[in-house]
């Protein structure tokens, strides 16, 4: 009973954090929300995976956030550009978009639970919310950092669902590597073209 309650709290956290990532103007808030989102995902993943394997996902996720945060911190000249080009309007549209995701998740979670018994309603609901939030985010942004955040959110949702059906250590390791790779790639793409090379050897 307590476990179920905590699982539903984790689903609520997933909803709040994915909405925050979608509507926030500040990259610090977005990364903070992603950190909390990984905590919620960790709880949901450990419903089906051992604690140690769930921890891998949590630690990998937080490492990605650290990588992206440190990179973004060193690129302060992007601040003005991002605010001007990306987020001046459309907050209500984004909230409405997230509302649609919630409706879809609420509608489809019981049907998936009926089709694949044993997954658990909170697991399915949390997973669908994150997948939907991530896809919605990818649909409305072309900003590099936000694309990476959208992909990470979508993957976190998928990992929750997939952990319930596949518990191989190799898959957990490879998924962690994919998450880390996306983080490093995001950092690289943020840095690329932002500063001139120091010498020709770097070419």
């Amino acid at each position: 009973m307590v476990t179920d309650t905590v699982s539903w709290i984790a689903v609520g956290l997933a909803l709040i954090t994915s909405t925050a990532i979608l509507i926030s103007r500040d990259w610090r808030v977005s990364l903070g929300a992603l950190a909390v989102q990984y905590l919620a995902a960790f709880w949901l993943v450990t419903r089906h995976l051992p604690l140690a394997m769930g921890s891998v996902k949590l630690i990998a996720g937080w490492m990605v956030i650290a990588t992206l945060g440190m990179t973004r911190l060193s690129l302060m000249n992007l601040e003005q550009q991002e605010e001007d080009a990306f987020f001046p309007r459309g907050q209500w549209f984004r909230i409405a978009l997230m509302g649609i995701v919630v409706l879809v998740a609420a509608g489809s979670a019981p049907r998936i639970e009926a089709a694949i018994p044993g997954l658990g309603l909170p697991i399915i609901a949390g997973s669908l919310l994150l997948i939907g939030g991530g896809v919605a985010h990818l649909g409305i942004t072309s900003d590099l950092l936000r694309v990476i955040l959208g992909l990470l959110t979508m993957l976190a949702g998928f990992e929750i669902l997939y952990a319930a059906v596949e518990s191989a250590i190799l898959v957990t390791g490879l998924l962690a590597a994919v998450n880390l790779g996306l983080g490093i790639l995001g950092s690289y793409l943020l840095i690329a073209g932002s500063s001139p090379l120091e010498n020709e050897d770097e070419l």
Binding site: G173, L185, L189
Partner: protein, 465 residues
Amino acid sequence: MNAPILWIAVPFLVGGGILFLLRERYAAWLGGGTAALLALIALVIPIDTALLLGPVSLKIAPSIQILGRSFELNTADGPLLAIIYGLAALWLFGTEASGTANRFVSLGLMIVALLTASIAVEPFLYAALLLEMAAMLVVPMLVPPDQKAGRGVVRFLIYQTFAMPFILFSGWMLAGVEASPGDLGTTIQAGVMLSLGFAFLFAIFPLYNWVPLLMEEASPYATGFLLWALPTFTTIFALDFLDRYTWLRTTPQLTNAIRFAGVFMVASGGIFASLQRHIGRILGYAAITEAGLLLLIIGLGSSEIINLTFLILIPRGLELVVWALAIAIIKGRIQSLRFADVQGLARSYPVAVSSLILAHLAMSGFPLLAGFPSRFALWQQIAEGSLALSFWVFLGMFGLLIAAIRTLAVFVMAKEDAKWEWNESWVQTIMLGLGVIGLFILGLFPQALQPFLSNLAPLFEHLGQ
């Protein structure tokens, strides 16, 4: 000695070493040499068979366990490894002529190693994860440190990342379908998931919009490599799926859908190629057309599926490397690859231009060139089944041919007083020349591929029977 270590770990580590330790001057030779050596070993030494070399007994073990799962490369994988690393060697040696930085060689080797791991991993559907990792490694090749990432790269990354969850989940569902084949609901769900996953991986219409974008904004040589490597391994992955799940081969709705997607890609790719005014984008659309041909072969469900697929895949590597190298050489001297900027270049870059046109014609299925035998064999298969299909495939090929003629016309539109020059270096001339000779050899003597093709059939137990 262990096969996965030899063909996965070694190239991966060599690639890493080149990235961090080696200067550009030696990178192409070391990377290309490593790939060529691995191809030679795959060709000469059979896996899992003891060889006596004087007093020394040599045996390459087929598998290794990592985190509870195995990576296996069996005797049947030998010819495939030889083809993969042989073509990879061409791409890596080509970097010397294309002037690409050493990051291409290092990342290229690492990508080929990861893609080889995708063939070796058991259960095979984990390959989706390795394909995603390889796709992520491609990105630094496409976006150099001094250049901002464009829309094409971002779309490529998104689409490849979308593919992975669909395929992994469909793999899990397919197991359920195998257990209860009468459950129509699960079958449809698994089929839809799988189709979506491969639609992203194969860049099926309309998901191929990143291809022409990348050809405009990224290095043509790196993009050419990407257009060779990922579809090649995706095709092998798709054949694996078909081989293991009987219902996938026998469901007419699914094979019809694959065939329709293939024909649509061939026709749309050819038509769009004929309308382009950018030689890079034309290459992109030609690659899309070829991916369509591969899908068409899979959808035909012919008994010759393996032979036809590899009859396209092997020359495809050569055609793309020659074409991309020629474009890279031309791009090294001019600002853009638009028709207006490349006009009249036949007189200043005769070798690069003639190689580009020959590679383009080969991809259009022009007689005597490398693409012709596979197209001819495919025509026979299609014409037996449907004239409508033949018409649309003909339209696509005709579009590619028009694009080749338009490109040639633009290249030779030089001013009357323009002099003939030879601006390609010796290395570039030799590499392009060897590539063009290869295109003619594969066109005139396609039986040269027969030893490979006959040994590839055991890779897939049920396909083509």
